[in-house]
Amino acid sequence: MANPSKTLFSGLRILDLTRAVAGPTCTRMFSELGADVIKVEAFPEGDLTRQVSKIRNERSLYFVQQNLGKKSLCVDLRNPKGLQLVKDLVPLVDVVVQNFKPGVMASMGMAYDDLKELKQDIILCSISSLGQTGSLAEKPGYDMIAQSYAGVTSMVGDPDDAPCFPQLAIGDVSTGVMGAFSVLAALYHRDRTGEGQHLDVSILDTYYHSHEASVHQYSGSNGKIEPNRTGRHMNYLAPAGVFRANGGYITIMSFLHHWKDLCAAMDRPELAEDERLGNDEGRLENLDEVIELIESWLQNFPDRDTAMDKLDEFGVPAGPVLTIAETVAHPHLRERGTVRTIDDRIAGKFEIPGLPPKFSKFPDLPEFDAPTLGEHNEEIITNILGRSDDELAELRNAGILKEKNI
């Protein structure tokens, strides 16, 4: 794919008041594609993820992963002079992104209407767990809290036991991307009308959006269908789920027209037309029998990967349940940059998930660094805000700006 001279978002400037995962994922989509992202970090320790997942040289790999290419401004927001610096930045940016608890921006005098006074066409993207409005808005929130309220956790795990949850931040990351989409939609609107706007994006709404069938099945059947978790098999198609093989697990999706391919792979072509097992409804009714049939067939193979080869040969949609270690070494994931290697100046080399969309008109991702705490204080205060070196020194002396090599 061809390399243009400029990055996709060069010239776009974002004031980033986010911490943790959902907010930083939103601004990450822009910084990795070349936008100028000024990350304001709370005084004195900065983003709380600087304290989490510290594995090498006291540098948090978590922070590095989510903040590549951003500029760090570490400033005391409880000091009016510190807050003023941030307000002075507003007229110089296109977009403000924040994920404070709802109400905090207003308490700092930075609600949407305040920002609009500072810059008429400003775009404010507010990311939160449960939304800016509604009875739950003020609750402290994390991914799993929103997941619970969205009915998502109830759909994960063994139906006869307490639910479990995916051990990764699916909701946070999806919400960050939803936020990034909304920011671009607002820029599209601004380009046409000259108007800015306020965006309200929440993990709850994003998770709920992912119920592809449960909500309409429940409400459309007037409550007759009560969606619930079913462990490792789908509840409206069959067979579709996780199956045991020797030495590992395989996800097999051979419902509808894929069933005949699985029957061919198992050398049981007669089952494709079987009266009981020939359609999804029948297979759902006899799910235990179908699982037993497939899992005993899988036992014929010495290991997971030889069973996978057979399934692939017959075009059955299937995939091995890889561990994280296996994903890092997988040729497909490496070739696509799904797995991306970072060489951090403090923490050294390690792997992170790459940026998912691949753009033909955007060069291979540049070698970005994550900033150390307050690394860009000087550049932002003197170059962007045009303050003198004396003022910079004074802000440092007064403890309003802070720098630390972490």
Partner: protein
């Protein structure tokens, strides 16, 4: 929030070749905000989801949910005359979105280079399970297959048993939103440079993007940390997970500085400073003990609702684990339009997940309907492409166009 006069994407034209879930979610983001989306459905039966989740009057609620506001053009893509119609449409479009198996667009003469010949600045967004490139690109793919290949499934469920799968299209929907982000980023780029581009968005890349710590923990520790599923408790902060209480399970996130709030709620302030209990790492080392302590305390409440109220009083991040049924009537979800009521002319009234983003400069939800199969055939052929009524009749008679009341 105030309403603007016209929908945000008014005038934007998208040719939509997508089926199932990930692709239709991408174009749904545009259709629900006023873009002109022409959904091309393969004759004779159209999108396969028209056959699924048929609950009322033979109309698929699944199809309706994902395809509000789109125009259905049902055409035979195996006939050269059908393909010719597609090529005629391309110059009228800003964006083409497709989620065929990689290679299928090229086999129809509709790959990016071919589309570029038809319209120099066209944007093509290709959505797939495993991506357009790499050794796994042409595998048949579904959400759970990509989930298995990206180490995500391995992170869900009881560590001593086979993994579970979440019973909702989290990966598909997140991929659709990544695609929508990519399309807008490409439009942003086109408006500044005049150039189109090809976008490659894959479920595998999107799922991988959601590993907020697993990938860097494994590679950054040189393989010493081997992330795996932890059932209903998080693996790197503690306490954080699903706890059993009378009458229901509760999600409690009382790690880091929240632990002191939980101790206060339990009236066990001494635990905050007790040796071996003060950090998340120490508490993780005695997870069983921590879980037993919290669950024993939860038993002192007659119902989980009382326990939740007690913890909320002390500011502990906590949530009830709602079922899908519970979400439908929840005042917060209703207030935000997280749950949205649709009144379909064939299927009647039911609830679906709403648009996750709230725009201050965008009117309330548009009163959109989902098309019946080929409903816009006549409009697109005669009005958009300017073919005569005779030609339309001929295309119908030859089975190149199809229509159906479902």
């Amino acid at each position: 929030m105030t309403g603007a006069t016209e929908p945000l994407f008014e005038g934007l034209k998208i040719l939509d070749f997508t089926r199932a879930l990930a692709g239709p979610t991408c174009t749904r983001m545009f259709a629900e905000m006023g873009a002109d989306v022409i959904k091309v459905e393969s004759a004779p039966n159209g999108d396969l989801t028209r056959q699924m989740s048929k609950i009322r009057n033979d109309r698929s609620l699944y199809y309706i949910q994902q395809n509000l506001g789109k125009q259905s053009l049902c055409v035979n893509l195996r006939d050269p005359r059908g393909i010719a119609l597609m090529k005629e449409l391309v110059p009228h479009m800003d964006v083409v979105v497709e989620n065929f198996k990689p290679g299928r667009m090229a086999s129809m003469g509709l790959d990016y280079e071919a589309l570029k010949e038809l319209k120099e600045d066209i944007i093509l967004c290709s959505i797939s399970a495993m991506g357009q490139t790499g050794p796994l690109a042409t595998k048949p793919g579904y959400d759970y297959i990509a989930q298995a290949y990206t180490g995500v499934t391995s992170m869900i469920g009881d560590p001593n048993d086979a993994p579970s799968i979440p019973l909702l299209g989290i990966g598909d929907v997140a991929t659709g939103v990544h695609g929508a982000f990519a399309v807008l980023a490409a439009i942003y780029h086109r408006e500044r440079t005049g150039r189109g581009q090809h976008l490659d968005v894959a479920l595998a890349d999107v799922y991988y993007h959601c590993h907020e710590v697993n990938v860097h923990q494994y590679t950054g520790s040189n393989g010493e940390i081997k992330p795996t599923r932890g059932g209903r408790h998080m693996s790197y902060v503690c306490p954080a997970g699903v706890f059993r209480a009378n009458g229901g399970d509760i999600m409690i996130m009382a790690f880091l500085h929240h632990f002191k709030d939980l101790c206060a709620a339990m009236d066990r302030p001494e635990l905050v400073t007790k040796e071996g209990w003060t950090t998340d790492q120490e508490r993780l080392a005695r997870l069983d003990e921590v879980v037993a302590l919290v669950e024993t305390w939860l038993q002192t409440f007659p119902s989980h609702w009382d326990a939740i109220a007690k913890m909320e009083e002390h500011g502990v991040p906590v949530a009830p684990i709602l079922t899908v049924e519970d979400t439908i009537t929840h005042p917060h979800l209703l207030h935000r339009g997280t749950i949205r009521t649709i009144n379909d002319r064939l299927a009647g009234e039911f609830g679906i997940p709403g648009m996750p983003i709230k725009f201050s400069e965008f009117p309330e939800d548009l009163p959109l309907e989902a098309d019946t199969l080929g409903q816009h055939n006549a409009h697109i052929i005669t009005e958009v492409l300017n073919h005569s009524e005779e030609e339309l009749a001929q295309l119908r008679a030859d089975g190149i166009l199809n229509e159906g009341e479902f």
